[in-house]
């Protein structure tokens, strides 16, 4: 198996603050790899190092087998980068944005125009090809950002929160395109804090917290490993909680405010037992999701 990105003990410090603290990860060729984590966990810093936008403090980082410190231009020629904040060029139209960008990759004009037309078509922007950037909706801008990142026929597409702030339609359209690109053999690395997005797209992911990787694996096995298949959510008072603590101390449960979550197999019996014993406003038995894993591993404390 060949790796497109390999990080060993990768560390980034800003003064005294350690943003990325000795992380190890590998991205396989052709997979979609995700970085999850609350704000400030170090996801963006990690991928900015991969993009050659931020020099590492220590550790090793290779992209497509090349060392990040000595081969920046060669590495960047293989990457398609979509940063968190759109940085389309407002001095140019939609199509010109692609053609001007192609020039930075040494792509000849005729070739650039051909690629631009194809990409605009693919991302449903052909009607807007002569439009000014400021007239585009946020979904269109995001699509154009991805199209621009592909103008060099990137082998590795890196997206920092690709769908933040988009409506569901725009988000699904982007997900569809990313899945297609993956099928075409492009390796994708993305950061997100939408669990749905990670579950939908990622073959493998890491969850980061405070600069470290806390867990790694395919979404389904992370769910199984950390929270099991089902969760029982009960809106109950302290009586319910102390009852659980007395009689079911072996079970994995968490209480936040008035919500009690129980992670265990075969919870139906327990739910009926609680419903029979206490006056409970709401009790739900549902499948676990990646969000449960996320909250369990990174805590419920607010990050700002």
């Amino acid at each position: 198996m060949s790796y497109v990105v390999q990080a060993m003990n990768l560390t980034k410090k800003f003064g005294d603050f350690t943003a990325v603290d000795g992380i190890n990860f590998q991205v396989n060729a052709g997979e979609c790899f995700g970085f999850l984590g609350p704000n400030g966990a170090g996801k963006t810093t990690a991928i900015r190092m991969v993009c050659c936008a931020s020099p590492k403090t220590s550790g090793e980082l290779k992209v497509a087998g090349m060392d990040i410190d000595n081969h920046q231009s060669e590495i960047k020629a293989l990457l398609g980068i979509v940063p968190q904040e759109n940085n389309l060029d407002p001095d140019f139209t939609v199509c010109e944005n692609l053609v001007v960008y192609a020039r930075y990759f040494d792509i000849r004009k005729a070739e650039a125009e051909e690629r631009a037309a194809k990409l605009l078509n693919r991302f449903e922007l052909s009607d807007k090809k002569n439009a000014a950037i400021e007239t585009l909706s946020s979904g269109m801008r995001r699509r154009l950002m991805i199209a621009r990142a592909l103008i060099n026929k990137a082998k590795i597409l890196i997206l920092d929160e690709p769908t933040t702030g988009l409506d569901p339609q725009a988000r699904h359209l982007i997900w569809d395109e990313l899945r297609k690109l993956r099928r075409e053999g492009i390796s994708i690395i993305l950061t997100t804090h939408y669990m749905e997005e990670a579950e939908e797209l990622c073959d493998r992911l890491v969850i980061m917290n405070c600069g470290r990787i806390v867990t790694e694996g395919p979404p389904s096995s992370l769910i199984e490993k950390h929270v099991g298949k089902e969760v029982l959510e009960v809106e109950g008072n302290s009586e319910v909680l102390s009852y659980l603590q007395r009689n079911y101390s072996q079970l994995d449960f968490e209480a936040t405010g008035s919500l009690i979550q129980v992670f265990a197999p075969e919870l139906e019996r327990l739910m009926n037992e609680l419903l029979g014993k206490f006056e409970i406003k709401k009790a739900i038995l549902r499948r676990t999701t990646l969000e449960d894993v996320f909250l369990k591993l990174t805590g419920r404390r607010l990050r700002e």
């Binding site: 936008a53 931020s54 231009s73 060669e74 904040e85 940085n87 001095d91 020039r103 060099n152």
Partner: protein, 263 residues
């Protein structure tokens, strides 16, 4: 140590021209608007100062007042084009439009982006100086063919002012802070560089400051000799001064910019 921090040699390839071309393409989209100021400015100044105020002014060094200030107007325009392109223009592209971020995500490096911006500032200086030269020629105030050398001079002077500007852009905390270099450096140069009156009338210490520290003084002197057609070796020190500034400031500005942008 200090030299290594601020004067580390830049790594520049031909990719620098891709950055230059981006700015040229953006400029050409609105070229008619862009050509109006260098065309109208000398007309207005020459009419008001040269032929209006000039009536009351005796010849300076044997030259009528309009012919005396005509080269100053070109030199001032070299300063303004280079300086404003790489302060406000570059700052907007760097900070508000995030154009630099977008470009350095490609094989182009930050060194090349900054160098491309400075070369574009120098080019704008040459473009504006050329247009002004035409106007001044129409007024009969430029000696040919010596005046043609104003164009390469404008590129060099533009390079100097653009790279000084880029140092400011690397250092200012926000866009309003450009008021400091403008009022502490640019406006004094506009007035005290032998532009509208000879610096020899100024008190001796101010003369010295003007000759040693103000880049525009040197540019005005060379431009004036060219447009008056009296080229001599006496401008050699001025050209050396300009060349030295062109050797120091571009490298310094790239290093300062890297400190600002790469974390």
């Amino acid at each position: 140590m200090w030299g290594m921090l601020y004067f580390k040699p830049c790594k520049i390839t031909w990719r620098v021209w891709k950055v230059w071309r981006r700015n040229k393409d953006a400029f050409m989209k609105t070229y008619i608007t862009n050509f109006i100021p260098p065309f109208l400015e000398p007309v207005l100044y020459l009419l008001a100062l040269g032929f209006g105020l000039g009536i009351y002014i005796q010849k300076i060094d044997g030259v009528p007042y309009a012919a005396y200030i005509a080269p100053s107007l070109i030199a001032i325009s070299m300063m303004y084009s280079g300086f404003f392109e790489c302060t406000y223009g570059s700052y907007v592209r760097m900070y508000y439009q995030k154009t630099f971020d977008a470009i350095i995500a490609t094989p182009v490096s930050l060194d090349e982006v900054i160098a491309g911006e400075i070369l574009w500032g120098a080019t704008k200086s040459a473009i504006n100086a050329s247009i002004m030269l035409i106007v001044i020629t129409l007024f009969g105030l430029a000696a040919w063919p010596q005046s043609l050398l104003v164009i390469p001079l404008a590129f060099l002077a533009g390079l100097m002012f653009a790279s000084i500007a880029m140092c400011c852009t690397a250092l200012v905390p926000n866009i309003d802070s450009f008021n400091y270099p403008i009022f502490l450096l640019i406006t004094p140069m506009f007035l005290f560089s032998g532009t509208f009156f000879p610096i020899s009338v100024l008190p001796r210490p101010i003369q010295l400051i003007s000759q040693i520290f103000l880049p525009l003084t040197h540019v005005v002197k060379v431009t004036r000799e060219l447009t008056l057609g009296v080229v001599s070796w006496s401008t050699t020190p001025n050209l050396v001064w300009i060349a030295a500034a062109c050797a120091i400031f571009p490298t310094l500005s790239v290093n300062l910019m890297k400190k600002r942008l790469i974390a």
